[in-house]
């Protein structure tokens, strides 16, 4: 205790804001709990939103290609329309194009081989001989596997409701189940991860895909991937293709392709709005809590602040004290909120298999929000200082 006093004494000036805040420990703790709660709320909401947007594009990021063709009616992976693969072949005529490859996506019912319950799974069909996907564990020998009829690869990070597929495979057990109305064998595992749109993913060849979805006509594809020769700038090519290809296909650069998916989730669904609202709620709760603390503090010390004015302290000094208290509250509330949020992210990631983790940008963003939260409260609370009239204290 005494050493703490000594530290305060050596200070150039008496740290009044700090001493006023820390004098009543219980009140400070309650205040910090409130601010931490507001920060955690913002961390969780922003974390979920980022996770949603990041998980939504996992498949996009894994696709190796510079230019992508989609139907003009396609909005997102969960809402794709097909277009004629002739358009994709037409792009071969552009200078700089090295290879093209069609990708088929769709949702089918997967039967859990253990419980026999069905659940909708994301099915991806690619040409197994094309070098198209950059995913962990997706080795060439596994792509060989799906050349066989009715063999699929299973995403080991699919939700557990699809069955203990990774465990069974790793223990050497043969996994046979049904997708759509077709009997398939799981020939191996790869790693991608669940998204908000898809709880699980299987990967197979284009031919197997069409066996699972017999109603899908040949020659109609969901995504056309265009790979360019090394060193070719994709942007002029995108413009050329747009000018020359008919209106029944959309030409997207890699960034636009990713952006299409994120925009769908952020703006085309209620999800972006809900998370945004959550952040605003956290922010407002924080403002109210900090305002309460600062207002009470100024009111409790009104006579003392008036005395300081009488002694010759300026209004600016007292404003400074209130704002310093605001900043201290923001900082002290943020630290436990940060630590708890890291923990909560970890719990959430394990429970949902969504990619949710603390990022530097979000840490800075929430710190900025916490500081502005406390500043707004401070700006409202200092109006109370006007009541500190030095002429009233005699």
């Amino acid at each position: 205790m005494y050493s703490l006093f000594s530290v305060a004494f050596i200070a150039r000036r008496i740290p009044l804001a700090w001493l006023q805040l820390t004098r009543e420990k219980i009140r400070l703790l309650v205040a910090l709990a409130g601010i931490a709660f507001a920060c955690i709320l913002m961390f969780i909401q922003l974390g979920f939103q980022d996770s949603l947007l990041e998980s939504a594009i996992r498949f996009h990021v894994a696709l190796k290609g510079e230019i992508f063709l989609v139907s003009p009616q396609s909005n997102a992976l969960i809402a794709m329309n097909t277009f004629s693969q002739r358009r994709l072949y037409q792009t071969l005529g552009f200078e700089g194009v090295r290879a093209i490859s069609p990708v088929y996506v769709g949702f089918a019912l997967w039967k859990n081989p253990e419980t026999r319950r069905t659940r909708s799974i994301f099915v991806v069909g690619v040409d197994p001989s094309a070098d198209l996907l950059d995913l962990p564990e997706l080795t060439p020998d596994k792509l060989e596997e799906i050349k066989k009829a009715d063999v699929v690869l299973f995403d080991r990070r699919s939700r557990s409701e699809f069955g203990p597929i990774p465990e069974w495979l790793e223990s050497g057990r043969e996994v046979v189940t049904e997708v759509g109305n077709r009997r398939v064998q799981v020939g191996g595992l790869f790693e991608m991860g669940a998204t908000f749109g898809a709880d699980g993913t299987i990967l197979t060849s284009d031919l197997n895909f069409l066996r699972i979805f017999p109603q899908r006509g040949r020659g109609l594809v969901d995504i056309g991937v265009v790979q360019l020769q090394p060193g070719v700038d994709p942007d002029p090519l995108v413009r050329q293709m747009r000018a020359l290809l008919p209106e029944d296909v959309r030409v997207l650069s890699r960034a636009e392709f990713i952006d299409m998916e994120q925009t769908y989730w952020e703006e085309g669904t209620a999800i972006g709005f809900i998370f945004g609202l959550g952040v605003v709620m956290g922010f407002i709760v924080g403002i109210v809590i900090v305002y309460q603390i600062l207002y009470t503090d100024v009111s409790d010390h009104l006579a003392e602040y008036a005395t300081l004015k009488a002694m010759g302290y300026t209004d600016t000094y007292l404003l400074g004290v209130v704002f310093q208290e605001a900043i201290l509250l923001a900082g002290l509330g943020y630290i436990p909120a940060f630590a708890l949020s890291v923990l909560l992210y970890d719990l959430t990631a394990n429970a949902t298999l969504l990619p949710i983790a603390m990022t530097f940008n979000r840490a800075v963003l929430v710190l900025g929000l916490a500081v502005s939260m406390c500043f707004i409260s401070g700006a409202i609370a200092v109006r109370r200082l006007r009541a500190a009239d030095p002429a009233d204290i005699f």
């Binding site: 004494f9 008496i14 010390h301 003392e304 300081l308 204290i393 005699f394």
Partner: protein, 245 residues
């Protein structure tokens, strides 16, 4: 003992050494606006010389406190001329008023100490208004001042750990630590029992004599009239001078 501070307060008062500390001429003061306007002070004229201890007595509502707040630059002067430490307060800029406040020591009826600060920190708050002292010096001077008011062993105590008389002595230490040329006190003994009240007043007198500062003290307490050089009496906003018997 305590050495004078080489700050603006000391310099200003050195230049005005022969001038009176306070000079009031025809000061009138009103509260309220329009038809509610009520005159509180009527044609106040008086002078306080350096080193004087002057008591201001009078019934409640006679305007004593209003006069005190005018002298302390806590309220603007409306009519007449009021010079404090050589500065005209009427029409003075807010920055001038703040400068005057820093050169005046205030002792209140309630001690008005900062509850979050120790005795020494409270005293330091007054010293930190004046630049040019190293933090160690500030701390040393605060502790010396507390020792001078008999609280050398309570420097690290918080106000809530001190008795009423001790708190008022901390307030005196805070008012006098920067060696003001003028101390304004508003019934400093009102909240104290007669013994502590007497101690507090004796202490103020002793320190004021040592530092040569002028004290204007509002009081109802007849037992302490003996410390005064002069007594001013106020009645219905008018000042009547009385010599000490």
């Amino acid at each position: 003992m305590l050495t004078p501070l080489l700050d603006q307060a000391a310099l200003t008062s050195a230049q005005n050494a022969v001038e009176p500390v306070v000079k009031a001429e025809g000061v009138n003061h009103y509260f309220g606006e329009g038809s509610l306007r009520k005159q509180i002070l009527f044609d106040i004229n008086f002078v306080l010389q350096p080193g004087e201890i002057v008591l201001l007595t009078g019934p409640s509502g006679s305007g004593k406190t209003t006069l005190l707040t005018l002298l302390g630059a806590l309220r603007s002067v409306q009519e007449g001329s009021l010079q404090v430490l050589g500065q005209e307060l009427r029409g003075a800029q807010p920055s001038t008023l703040i400068q005057i406040r820093r050169q005046v020591g205030y002792i209140f009826q309630a001690h008005n100490l900062l509850r979050s600060l120790t005795a020494a920190q409270n005293v330091r708050m007054a010293l930190e208004l004046h630049n040019g002292l190293a933090p160690q010096q500030v701390q040393q001077r605060a502790e010396e001042m507390l020792a001078a008011v008999g609280l050398g062993d309570r420097v690290h105590s918080y106000p809530e750990q001190l008795s009423g008389g001790q708190k008022q002595r901390v307030a005196i230490a805070r008012a006098l630590v920067s060696h003001p040329k003028l101390v304004l006190a508003d019934e400093p003994t009102a909240a104290l029992d007669s013994k502590s009240g007497r101690e507090v007043v004796t202490l103020m007198e002793k320190l004021a004599r040592e530092q040569g500062c002028t004290i204007l003290m509002v009081t109802h307490d007849n037992r302490i009239l003996d410390i005064a050089d002069r007594v001013l009496h106020m009645e219905d906003g008018r000042l009547e001078s009385q010599a000490v018997a």
